[in-house]
Symmetry: C2
Subunit: 215 residues, 2 copies
C-alpha cells in the first residue's frame, strides 16, 4: 500500500461505497466475480476511477476476469478497519433500539453493541437479549470500562441533541444518529445521520411510472 | 419534460440518489442552495452529468447560483411519485416492524403503513400505534381493500422468502425486505433489500485510521 497521505481524499471516501456494494453482492446477489465496470455501474462511478482507486492499495483484480467479490471485500474491509470488533453503546431502549441490538448483520461490519442506556426509569433493568438496560448515569462508567468510541442514538427527536452532547462529553468519537433530526457535534467527532425512509424512494419511483404507463 | 422514453435509463436511476441527497441536505444539514458540483460530489457523480440529468426534466437551477434545495427536491419528488401517498402492508410485528410503523420520516416519502400482519398467533390483536396486528390469513383482503402495491418484510430470515411469495401471490408489486437474506421474486416485482449494517462502515473507517495515526 502506498503512503496513505498520498491517496486522494475522494478515493478514501469511495472505499466505504465499494465495501457496501460488495457486501450486498455477496449477501443478497450471490455474485462471485465482478468487473470494475459492473461495480462502478452500481455506484455511478466510471470503471477507470474504480480501477485507479483500488490500485492505490494494491493489485486486486485479474485483467479480463474481474475482482473476486469475497476477497476484494475482505481486502477493503481491512483497509476500512471493519475486520476488528468495535464496541458501541446504544442510547434509547425503544423499538428501534431493541431492533438494532437484535439485528444479525452488525457483526460482519465489526460492530458490537455492548451496552444499552435509557433516561426512562421505567425501562431500566429491562432485558434486551443478553443486555440489561442501564440508567444514563452509568454512561461515563460504561464508555470508560469498555473503551467505547461509538455511540448509537435511538431516542426521540427532542432528546437527540442532548444525548449527543453527553456522548461527546464522555469521549465518544463517532455517533450514529437514527433520530430524524440534525445533531451538532464538535469537529473532532464524526456523525452519520441515518434516515430509514430513503430506501423506499426507488421502489415508489418504479411503482409510480408503472401506474402512469398503465393509465 | 421530454418524452420519458428518450431519457437514458442511467439518468432515471440517478434520480432517487439526487432526491435522497437533497432530502438529507434539507433535513440534516439545513442547506438552502446547492451547486451541481456539491450535489455530484456527495454522490461521486461529475457535475456535468448532474446538470445533464436534470436538464431532461426542465430548468431547475440558476447559472452561477445553484439549485434551491427544497424546490429541486419537490420537483424531483413529483417525477419520482413520492408526492402521493402509497399505502403499504408490513409483515412481522417484532421490534423492527414496530419501529418502522412508529418511524416519523416515512410520510415525506409518500409511504403509509396501513396494516400489520404476523403469523405468530401471540402477536395478533396487539396494538402498534393506531394499528391492530392481524393474522396472515387476512393478507389478501387487506391488500385488495386498500389497493396496496407495497409490502414490507420484517420477519426472521427463515420466513422471509415464504412471506415474499405470499405478497407476490396477492398482487404486491414492490417489496422492501429488511430480513438480511436474498429473496427471489418474479421479474415484474421489484425488491429492495435493506441492510441496516452498511451505515456503520464509514464511521468505523474514520475511527480506525484515527487510532492507527495515534499509535
Amino acid at each position: 500500500m502506498k503512503d496513505r497521505n498520498n491517496i486522494p481524499k475522494a478515493t478514501i471516501e469511495r472505499l466505504p461505497l465499494y465495501y457496501r456494494c460488495l457486501d450486498k453482492m455477496e449477501t443478497f446477489d450471490d455474485v462471485e466475480v465482478v468487473s470494475s465496470k459492473e461495480l462502478g455501474g452500481k455506484l455511478g462511478i466510471p470503471s477507470t476511477q474504480v480501477r485507479k482507486d483500488l490500485s492505490y492499495y494494491g493489485e486486486f483484480g485479474r485483467r479480463g476476469v474481474g475482482y473476486d467479490v469475497i476477497s476484494l471485500k475482505r481486502s477493503i474491509g481491512k483497509i476500512l478497519g471493519v475486520n476488528k470488533i468495535w464496541p458501541a453503546v446504544l442510547i434509547g431502549a425503544g423499538n428501534l433500539g431493541r431492533a438494532l441490538v437484535n439485528y444479525e448483520g452488525f457483526a460482519k461490519m465489526g460492530l458490537e453493541i455492548v451496552s444499552v442506556l435509557d433516561a426512562d426509569l421505567g425501562k431500566i433493568e429491562n432485558k434486551i437479549g443478553m443486555i440489561t438496560v442501564k440508567s444514563m448515569k452509568e454512561l461515563n462508567d460504561v464508555v470508560k470500562r469498555s473503551n467505547i468510541k461509538i455511540g448509537i442514538i435511538t431516542v426521540p427527536v427532542n432528546a437527540a441533541q442532548e444525548v449527543a452532547n453527553q456522548l461527546v462529553e464522555v469521549g465518544v468519537k463517532s455517533i450514529w444518529n437514527f433520530a430524524p433530526i440534525r445533531i451538532f457535534v464538535p469537529e473532532q467527532v464524526s456523525v452519520r445521520n441515518e434516515d430509514l425512509a430513503v430506501g423506499i424512494v426507488s421502489l415508489i419511483y418504479h411503482l409510480s411510472w408503472e401506474n402512469r404507463a398503465q393509465s
